[in-house]
Structures are given as C-alpha cells and as structure tokens.
Symmetry: C2
Subunit: 120 residues, 2 copies
C-alpha cells in the first residue's frame, strides 16, 4: 500500500476531512491527498507553520522527559488539524472542517501511523 492509498483511505473514511499528508518535521510534504480545494484557506502555509510547531513540541518533550510526542490537535474557527508522529522525521497530518469527526480522525491516524512507518 502506498502512502497515497493510506491518505485516501483516511480522507474517505473521516466525515468532514479536507486533506491528509505525510509530512516531514522540516515542513516538506512527502505525499498529499486532498478531497476538495480549501477555497479561502491557506492550508499548505498553515501546515508549514504547524510542522515548525510540532518540531518544537517534539524537542520540548525530549528536553523535559515527557516521553515521545505522539499526537497534536489544533482547532481554530475554520479548520481542525490532527497530527500524529510516525517516526523521528515524519508525521501524518489531517485537516477537517470544524464540524468534522474529530474522534474518527484521531482513530484513523492512530491506525495508519504504524502502517505508514513500516513503509518509510
């Protein structure tokens, strides 16, 4: 199964999903699947910003000995973003409409993470 198949599967099965990606902590997406164009949303710029923040959180987790960073969820009025660490270099990221299925999104990322990791 390619990365794209995993991403398509996530976006298809989560209500309100807009796009999903396998992304590096350096802000560069390896593979992306988007369901629709997020019109007035600067999603890719937002994800670059978020990847920077995720990198910071990962370093903080190391420094402060809280164990590995596993998951981050960021909600704003217009978009929900769920991210899950896949490896020290990569994470899965999923954007949802504010009305999207947050719980299912978390579940699908948790399920996909080890499968994506196995293919890195």
């Amino acid at each position: 199964m390619s990365f794209l198949a995993h991403l398509e599967s996530i976006v298809r099965q989560v209500d309100g999903a807009i796009a999903a990606s396998v992304m590096g902590f350096d802000g560069i997406a390896v593979e992306t699947h988007k369901l629709e164009d997020p019109a007035d949303l600067e999603l890719w710029t937002l994800w670059i910003e978020y990847s920077n923040v995720l990198g910071q959180l990962r370093r903080a987790a190391e420094t402060l000995k809280t164990g590995e960073l596993t998951e981050v969820a960021i909600s704003t009025d217009k978009v929900l973003t769920l991210a899950r660490t896949v490896s020290p270099e990569y994470f899965l990221i999923l954007a949802l409409k504010p009305t999207g299925n947050y719980g299912k999104g978390r579940y699908m990322l948790r399920l996909a993470a080890p499968q994506v990791r196995a293919e890195l």
Copy 2:
C-alpha cells in the same frame, strides 16, 4: 465562583486529571489547582513551553485567517495536555495522565471557558 473553584471542579470531574490552570499567553499562571504532585514530570516548565507554542499558534491563526485558535491538545507518552483559549490574553490548561479521559477533559474546558472569561 472563583477561578480556583472552576479549576477544582474540572480536576475533580475528569478521570486521570493531574492539574489545571488559568494561564496567560506570557506563560504566567493566574491560578492553579493540582490533584497530586506529578513526581518525575516537570509540569510547570512544560506549561511555560506550551504557552509559548500556543501564542505562536494564535498568531499563525490570525495571519493565515483561519479564525481564532480555540483548542489545542498535545499528547506525549507521559502526559496529555488540553488547552482552551479563554480570551486574547488567557487560556485554560489541563494535564491528564495518558490514560485520562480526553473527551471529558475537552468537554469540561469547553464548559468552563465562558464562565472563566466572564470573571476575567
């Protein structure tokens, strides 16, 4: 109802809760209630780090026009952290054991946020 009463109510009602705080985006806690000492966890240092990250996310939300930042959840192996914006200056933050009730935590913060805001 004082801030402390809200914080006590949150910590009491959420399974696995360790501590809750009303905190400024500048990293200074206004009021804190902790249920137990998080032993090997540098919780307060972690929260200062997180408040810095929340400030960044709030600014990114403004710049990228995604609407206001409402909620952030950060999971590591040893601690779950839920935060909810209360005002442009303050947020509620709740630390849980990894086995804590994530959904109930989100619900309680959503409930408490407007009440805390009304008292700021």
